[in-house]
């Protein structure tokens, strides 16, 4: 077991080292540009943000690669012993994410007392997160898809079988993509929402420091509340896994609500701002529940996908896409209601900008319990890895069953976590877009009845499509290479199947690594360069429209992809648990098709979109003085 864990840990370390080397070049180039065209303070903040984001990803990965083998070991005893270990490693990630983010924003605010400098921090954190999410997502899904297509479908060996040459790459991928990439991702969502609130607080309440302290202190209370909530995550009976996690979240939420009430009334003397925060918190929970409805096999949508699988892969895909598209309706209505309500509670009818401050507070409220929701989200890949180790080390079958149970729950919690991140990004990026309109030098007609804005809107709406096409293609291509390599090894290395020869794991790791590093560049550059091109080419008004188009379309695509992917995955798991014929039937094969398409949907393309819109909004804010 230790040997396997060692191999996974080494692979993950090696990848992160190479990724950070590439990103260092990016940070140096962009940092130099910021220094030349803007100022030294923003440059420092940018580098600091980039390091914070990278660090959060690194810490999460380290802890996860240590916790996986311990979780397998604990699962040999009972699920009640395994859950705390997996969950605690998630907590470490969650607390470093929230801690590093809050620390960075607070320190920079304290030293420079200038929101514009903090935008540099956000840009650093977000751009690194984008590369990490895209790179990690390509890595993990190339390995996962490649391993599954040959191993499970063609050669009929179980998942995580040590005979599969891609198995180590697959498990490394869980760490660099699902843990490290997600850590960087949520750091940036968290930082993005704080920055939006600080910027709008400064614009709406000039000279009133309390308006800026409010989001910072709310975030700090959220961290404390999450830690307290974490203590409530304990499993008494084997059947109450979900309940144990829910209790933790409820405790943390109640504590945050109390803190929000205290802070808004004491600091700002305004109960309406409390309602704005509450709106965000409730919206987050609602979006999470909608995600659960559309992705859990307990409900109709996923069951429909199971039924559709009986007539083959094509109807499975049609059903999954349809579920994903339909699942956008609820979140859009929830976010729309949140915008209108939070705007109203922020006194938007008296002053536009203070209303938008209300919207930004809602985003902070939505993410305030990230310390525990992210922990729940991150424990999934740890459990997944633990299962892989158990399988590879040949532990008894009931160990695998226990880790599978932990993992299955992780699928739904992951969809919920993505819902939070996407919802918060939709609100935060929107607030940043409004902040941009206030900080840009001269602003002409921003009416939608202006063809230049319509062009900006079209281009913005196109970007999530373009971005997703690149990331999907990258996964598809790398997965195909992986499939061919695994097929080649099965053919050319005799004795793999009889376990007399070892497969060449390293070649598969290399394929994932080089695909990830090469293919993450283009999507990342699009995100950073498009606001600059449109801002200088068509003017700041068109840039606002571009951001609005990208936020709207990106939000929809992200929700669609996350939920379709989750639903496909769980439909397959539901069949594997013995329904509709069970494993090995044509129905199961059809479900695997959907699951495989869902992989890049939910773990590469979809979750990168919320970073994309934040990065673009932050680039706009950083270049605002130049426009």
């Amino acid at each position: 077991m230790n040997e396997i864990a060692q191999a996974i840990s080494e692979g993950a370390n090696a990848y992160l080292r190479r990724q950070y080397k590439v990103l260092a070049i990016f940070v140096i180039v962009v940092g130099a540009l910021i220094f030349v065209f803007l100022d030294g303070e923003t440059t420092i903040a940018f580098v600091y943000g980039a390091i914070s984001s990278g660090l959060a990803g690194f810490i999460g990965m380290r802890v996860a690669t240590m916790a996986n083998v311990r979780t397998s070991q604990a699962a040999t005893e009972s699920i009640a012993k395994a859950l705390p270990i997996a969950f605690m490693s998630g907590s470490v990630l969650a607390l470093s994410v929230t801690g590093l983010g809050l620390l960075g924003v607070s320190v920079l605010y304290y030293i420079f007392n200038d929101p514009h400098v903090i935008h540099g921090f956000g840009l650093g954190a977000s751009s690194i997160a984008l590369f990490a999410r895209v790179g990690g997502g390509i890595y993990t899904k190339a390995a996962d898809v490649g391993a599954d297509l040959v191993g499970k479908v063609e050669s009929n060996i179980p998942e995580d079988d040590p005979r599969n040459p891609a198995v180590i790459a697959d498990n490394v991928g869980d760490n660099v993509g699902d843990v490290s990439g997600m850590g960087a991702d949520l750091t940036e969502s968290y930082v993005g929402s704080l920055i939006a609130a600080l910027t709008l607080g400064a614009l709406a309440y000039t000279g009133k420091a309390e308006a800026l302290l409010l989001p910072l202190m709310l975030a700090a209370s959220g961290i404390v509340a999450s830690v307290v909530g974490s203590f409530f995550v304990r499993v008494r009976k084997e059947s109450s896994l979900h309940k144990a996690l829910n209790i933790g979240v409820y405790v943390a939420s109640i504590l945050v609500i109390g803190a929000a009430f205290y802070l808004t009334t004491q600091l700002m003397g305004d109960i309406n701002l409390f309602y704005a925060i509450l709106t965000g918190l409730v919206a987050g929970i609602l979006i999470g529940q909608i995600a659960e409805y559309y992705t859990s096999s307990k409900f109709k949508p996923t069951k429909d996908i199971v039924t559709a699988s009986e007539t083959g892969g094509a109807t499975n895909i049609i059903a999954g896409l349809s579920v994903g598209m339909q699942s956008t309706v609820g979140p859009v209505l929830v976010v729309s209601a949140t915008i209108l309500l939070a705007f109203r509670f922020g006194h938007g009818f008296d002053s536009l900008i203070s209303g938008i401050y209300g919207i930004s507070l809602a985003a902070v409220g939505m993410l305030s319990t990230l310390g525990i929701t992210l922990a729940i989200d991150a424990y999934g890949p740890v459990a997944d890895n633990a299962g892989g180790i158990a399988e590879m080390a040949g532990l008894p079958e009931n160990v695998r069953e226990r880790t599978d149970e932990l993992d299955a729950l992780g699928n739904t919690t992951a969809a919920i976590g993505k819902g939070f991140a996407i919802g918060a990004a939709a609100l935060a990026a929107l607030s940043l877009m409004f902040a941009f309109s206030r900080t840009v030098g001269t602003l002409g007609d921003t009416s939608l009845i202006n063809p230049r804005l319509i062009v900006g809107l079209y281009v913005g709406a196109m970007l999530p499509f373009f971005f997703s096409s690149l990331t999907m293609k990258a996964v598809g291509k790398a997965a195909m290479e992986m499939v061919q390599e695994v097929r080649r090894q099965f053919k050319e290395i005799p004795g793999i199947m009889e376990r007399t020869a070892k497969p060449d794991y390293k070649r598969c790791i290399d394929i994932s690594t080089s695909a990830a590093l090469k293919q993450m560049i283009a999507p990342g550059l699009i995100a950073v360069s498009m606001p600059i091109i449109v801002g200088f080419g068509l003017g700041p008004e068109a840039l606002i429209a571009m951001l609005a188009g990208a936020i709207a379309c990106g939000f929809l695509m992200a929700v669609m992809m996350a939920n379709a992917g989750g639903a496909w995955d769980n439909a397959k798991k539901y069949i594997e648990s013995g329904h509709a014929g069970g494993k090995g039937t044509p129905t199961h094969a059809a479900a695997v098709t959907g699951d495989t398409v869902g992989d890049p949907f939910k773990d590469t393309s979809g979750p990168s979109l919320n970073i994309l819109i934040n990065v673009m909004a932050l680039v706009a804010l950083v270049i605002a003085p130049l426009l």
Copy 2:
């Protein structure tokens, strides 16, 4: 042969009769509402529009069901004899579409001299088109998918084999969906662009009737040019099919350009408006060429899908989605450039509204040669049907080869035709949105920096997703029923396979018919009711934003779906022609998966979206006086 053609014709007639019965109720109800809340003139125009659209669909279907068997007969001699028959039947559809549309708009303009009345005509034509497109699309794809999945994939009998119980339904579907639905669809695109130009001409050049005559006379010249161009469609050598069609289009285009030059300089004395029209014509051709690049097996994208099929259905789907999403980039840039240029040529920097008149002229220019481009588009299903009849009647194999060749070309021309329709809708709906902003009673802040507009934008962007989810689901469900019915017949009716017993075609026709009639209601009602809900609920400003969001997102989704669907289809055809292993291999099975998913993409959900955005813009315009 006559017996089969008779069965197809009867099925199509029966469906259309039932469809029109349902739609009559819709027309009566909505007409009554318009009469009560607005006026009698608009009511008359609405009913007239609905009848025109229905009539265009009916004529096209009648001609197509007469031409199919004649084409099969002619194909027994040569392709040079078959093409003119198929093409001529397409021409009849095209000329009735353009003729009825232009006639309606002109007559109403002549009688009432009030653009608002003409909006009623547009609404009638568009809403009937929406139902026809959605209903026909569900009908044809349910039958097609169902027939293919069991017949081709499971039972290994060729396409259009008379032993397949769904084969008549499939061929009926070609007529009610691909001919009749498309006819209604393009009537409304054509009418929509004319109405936009008339409305904006009246707004931009008050009292100058020439500004309204210009689009009408341009459209009339386009019809004449198309007829002349049609005479040039003749096949000399068997290999020059594509060339023959292209020559026709080029001749028509050149004639229209000449007419546009003459009309703009003589009527308006303004060469700049000629440039605006030219921009639209060129943009249409460019969008068509981009569609050809992404969907023809001669180019890299479709070849990539072929390669991806070698590793299975999942990578085939990932590659196809990626191609579809990437194919949006070019059309967005072309449409954006068209908006900016046509706005400029319309003197938009002097007067906003006259610039938008320029944009609406570009849309008319884009569709001016519809009389021939639609003929090319519509001959595909006729050839498809002819092939089906040849197969079922057991004609020699070379007949089928000839109709297949005609049909394959039809796939690419269909993608090009869809490009025209989508591009024109993006421009026309945009112009209608601007017109709405001018005709609505009181209009507040339409700046994008207004949360209510952002909410409108989000809701609007969500509608194409919601709409597509409903149409995809409808096809998926009906196809599943069809699959089960076909499987049942194969099992319960002994002797089908040995051709000693006849399958029960009627049951399959019933499944398609009732699915289409039932499932077309909800998407249609969404389109008609959403502008009313948002307009009265959130105000006209939010309604403008909703339209903008729906246009942007709908345009993108429509392009994505049309091109992904076309590429999947041609990738499969390319493999069937002997590449990558050819028919019967796992690679071919993977390609069939993509093709099946692509069916509702390209023939149900995608092409309905341009009608969706036009219907919503027209509803907004019709209710404008009440807001």
